[in-house]
Amino acid sequence: MSKQHTTRPITTGTSVVGLVYDGGVLLAADTLLSYGSMAKSFNTPRMVSIDERILLGASGEYSDFQEVVQKVKALALEQKTQSMESLYEDRPLSAKSLWNYLRAVMYQKRSKFNPFWNDVVVAGYENGSSFLGVVDKLGTTLQENCVATGFGAYLAMPLLREQYRPDLSEGEARALLEDCMKVLFYRDCRASARIQLAKVTADGCIISEPYELDQSTGWNAPSMIRPVGDLDGDGGW
């Protein structure tokens, strides 16, 4: 009895962007769930917190992300409770260990030609310093100060690289990420203007409620005011 192997993503999320700032890590992602060119759901969170200390976000196949989150939450719980030692001492999972664990899982799946079709972002704050890393569907790992998955790798990374400084304040980091998300909304046809921001610091994780990007200053192009698809004119495309 042969099993089916994942060959293409069906229900997808687009870019996740993130950067390290002075005191923590900030991530952003929109809340659109796409079904090919159909916009399936407008309010789906693509970032979750593990143990209130580690942020996990992903682009790609949403069902695979859900499965990965399930596995990770189980791992975090197991780490807290399984060994006898855990009765006496708290040894919470670290972001870096989790990132490595995901690497092992993703690589094994790809080696069987049945990958989790995701780019997973892992963020945490431990031992007084920030951690930000990515794992892709092949099991490739990157640990960086700026990350962007999906379309963000092409559109947002240049913006992040240009403006990144190690001493960014939270406000500056947020402004930079929102700018990236706006550009992504303009240029990525599978993106929406409804986004979430997530941060992790020494005090733990916070994921914001979804909110709309401020569009009051954009969309002044004439073609947006008077759609070309009218009958008079060339009809658009």
Partner: protein
């Protein structure tokens, strides 16, 4: 010892509420040659007395490397110890591959103790006939730890301990001096370990570079084994220390006693 009808299977309780097979396994540990362990705030040292079957044979290895930050000293059935070492090494390597970081010794020991316990509650197996002294550095906290397991599955953490034949002498020495260990430097710890071992030799034998063995793990110190010529400087230091103390004692004896009036 005693032979009664409740000691054949490990799964049978004696009327006194004891598992005799487990206790017999612990006897096996007492037959092995001595192994000591002690720690400071920065290092953990293991010392062992290696036994040789005859003058023509080599000395039995008593200290094994489990990982860069974990050392293990054994007393009892060497083959059982090697089987456990293989398990521990596999766990260490697997953890490093999956999590990208060295394993926490406390968690490894906890799982090891459970492994011991399982053998005491099944009909088809026997307890491991070996006592282990495991020295490990916690990679996250940078703290040194010394653990002891026995065939029963009990796990204890110690500042200092000794197991095997004539180990009571070592334990007495360690109990007397353990409060000075915390601030001791690495070399002093090694000399203490050797001093503790000296009391465990039998009859006419003495502690030499052939039959002594020292292992050390610590902060910024990966597993290091000191045997043979590498051990001689410490044995020399021990000899000097003992000679000095002997001279001090003799001086005190020579002092004239105060006259009673």
């Amino acid at each position: 010892m005693f032979r009664n009808q409740y000691d054949t299977d490990v799964t049978v309780w004696s009327p006194e509420g004891r598992l005799l097979q487990v206790e017999y396994a612990m006897e096996s540990v007492k037959q092995g040659s001595a192994c000591v362990g002690l720690r400071s705030n920065t290092h953990v040292v293991l010392g062992a007395l290696k036994r040789s079957v005859s003058e023509l044979s080599s000395h039995q290895k008593k200290v094994l490397e489990i990982d860069d930050h974990i050392a293990m000293g054994i007393a009892g059935l060497t083959a059982d110890a090697r089987s456990l070492a293989k398990y521990m090494r596999t766990e260490c390597l697997n953890h490093k591959y999956v999590y990208g970081a060295p394993i926490t010794p406390a968690v490894l020991m906890s799982d090891l103790a459970d492994k011991h316990q399982r053998t005491t509650q099944t009909y088809v197996r026997r307890p491991f006939g070996v006592g282990l002294l495991v020295a490990g550095m916690d990679p996250q906290r940078g703290s040194p730890h010394l653990y002891q397991t026995c065939p029963s599955g009990n796990l204890y953490e110690f500042y200092a301990s000794a197991i095997g034949a004539r180990s009571q002498s070592a334990r007495t020495y360690l109990e007397k001096h353990y409060e000075t260990f915390a601030e001791s430097d690495k070399d002093d710890l090694i000399v203490h370990a050797l001093q503790a071992l000296v009391g465990c030799v039998s009859g006419d034998d003495e502690l030499t570079k052939e039959n002594g063995s020292i292992a050390i793990v610590g902060k910024d110190q990966n597993y290091t084994l000191l045997e043979g010529d590498a051990l001689q400087p410490y044995l020399d230091r021990l000899e000097v220390k003992n000679a000095e103390e002997k001279d001090d004692d003799e001086e005190k004896e020579d002092e004239p006693e105060a006259m009673e009036t």
